[in-house]
């Protein structure tokens, strides 16, 4: 097809055909997700797009597909519309949902998963799903001027092998992020996806990109023999890990159980807005943080989860 001529000249007709038949699920349509979706759509790949958020003014600095007209609209809906205008020859399905163990089967027909989410909980869920269903996945993440990409291939080193005891205390909303690092990280992520889909040699290490000194470091990976997921235990996929979240009946309050370091959170959140409270809790906007839990007032579960990821972390 004329449209893919320049790409086809480089990769060959067979690989192009393969791309045109492939379906990639992009989970999270923020800075990484919006760019990988555009790159893959232009390359001729069919897409399943999933995101729970709406477009906000602070997204426009780095989330390339959105315009001011999209403010307040669902990201999944906006991206589908923009991508259909870019390439009407591909199939695009989009869902504005909070992906969880109940609805993750939506992406079962994907040939590859691109993990572009903003929280570790969903990353662990995707990792289990990908391994169980033997679907390759590419993890990507960025913050400040640092980015990281790792391919997760069934049977090889998985996300849980590396990050099983991890928690992230930084989010883009509290520590900031440059649009240059998200673009670079997304480009590498999309490129790895194309390599995997077309059976080319792909990266087997963890890639770390640091724009402060323009370095790309590749770190070797080793399978963790004690990894529960590699040993067939899927705690996120069977819902066991889902109980730390409660909606209080009859109110708009949502609770997340989590151990909090109030001093550290106070310091971090004060950069994002006004903090009040006492020794027992701190209050920030519609969020109250206790030492053992976080309470969020929100219109619905999706909004509460979104605020939690944004300001508290994982």
């Amino acid at each position: 097809m004329e449209r893919y001529k320049r790409q086809e000249l480089f990769i060959g007709k067979n690989k192009q055909k393969r791309l045109n038949k492939s379906i990639v699920a992009v989970i999270g349509l923020g800075a990484l997700g919006s760019l990988v979706s555009e790159l893959l759509a232009r390359a001729g790949i069919n897409l399943t797009l999933i995101d729970r958020d709406v477009v906000e003014i602070t997204n426009l600095q780095r989330q390339v597909l959105f315009t001011e007209k999209d403010l307040g609209e669902l990201k999944a809906k906006c991206i589908k519309k923009h991508l259909a205008e870019i390439n009407s020859n591909i199939k695009i399905n989009s869902s504005a949902i909070d992906l969880n163990f109940n609805n993750i089967k939506l992406i079962r027909n994907a040939d590859l998963i691109l993990d572009c989410t903003d929280n570790l909980e969903t990353r662990f869920l995707l990792n289990e799903f990908a391994l169980k269903n033997k679907i390759p996945m590419v993890y990507g993440a960025a913050i400040r001027d640092k980015g990281t990409v790792m391919n997760i291939i069934p049977g090889k080193v998985c996300f849980n092998c590396i990050f099983n005891k991890s928690s992230s205390n930084e989010t883009c909303d509290t520590s900031g992020v440059l649009n240059t690092i998200t673009s670079l990280t997304a480009s590498i992520q999309a490129n790895e996806a194309i390599k995997i889909l077309t059976n080319q040699d792909y990266e087997t290490g963890l890639i770390r990109i640091d724009l402060s000194n323009n370095s790309i470091t590749r770190l070797g990976l080793k399978k963790n023999p004690n990894c529960s997921v590699c040993n067939g235990i899927y705690e996120y996929l069977n819902g066991k890990k889902d109980k730390d979240f409660i909606k209080f009946c009859g109110s708009n309050n949502f609770q997340f159980r989590r151990k909090n370091n109030l001093e550290e959170l106070k310091k971090r959140l004060s950069k994002a807005g006004k903090i009040t409270g006492s020794r027992e809790f701190i209050k920030f906007d519609n969020i109250i943080i206790f030492k053992d839990r976080v309470m969020i007032k929100a219109d619905n579960e999706n909004e509460a989860r979104s605020l939690y990821s944004k300001y508290i972390g994982d």
Partner: protein
């Protein structure tokens, strides 16, 4: 023994001249919470119980989850 440590969060390289048995002890020495970082020894990711020897190079990287 001498250990070279790169702490990504502060873009800082330190040379530590002290007997340190493993990465866990190194993180304690530097007051870094092991849950918030991933560590590499001589360019290969390593768990915090990985032993250290003279001349090892350790990278301490933040866990990144932003998308």
């Amino acid at each position: 023994m001498t250990i070279k440590v790169f702490i990504e969060r502060y873009n800082e390289t330190k040379v530590i001249e002290k007997n340190i048995k493993d990465i866990n002890s190194l993180l304690k020495e530097l007051s870094i919470n092991p849950e918030t970082v991933v560590t590499a020894r001589n360019n290969e990711l390593a768990t915090t119980d990985a032993k250290l020897k003279d001349g090892d190079e350790v990278r301490i990287l933040s866990v990144i989850s932003g998308g």
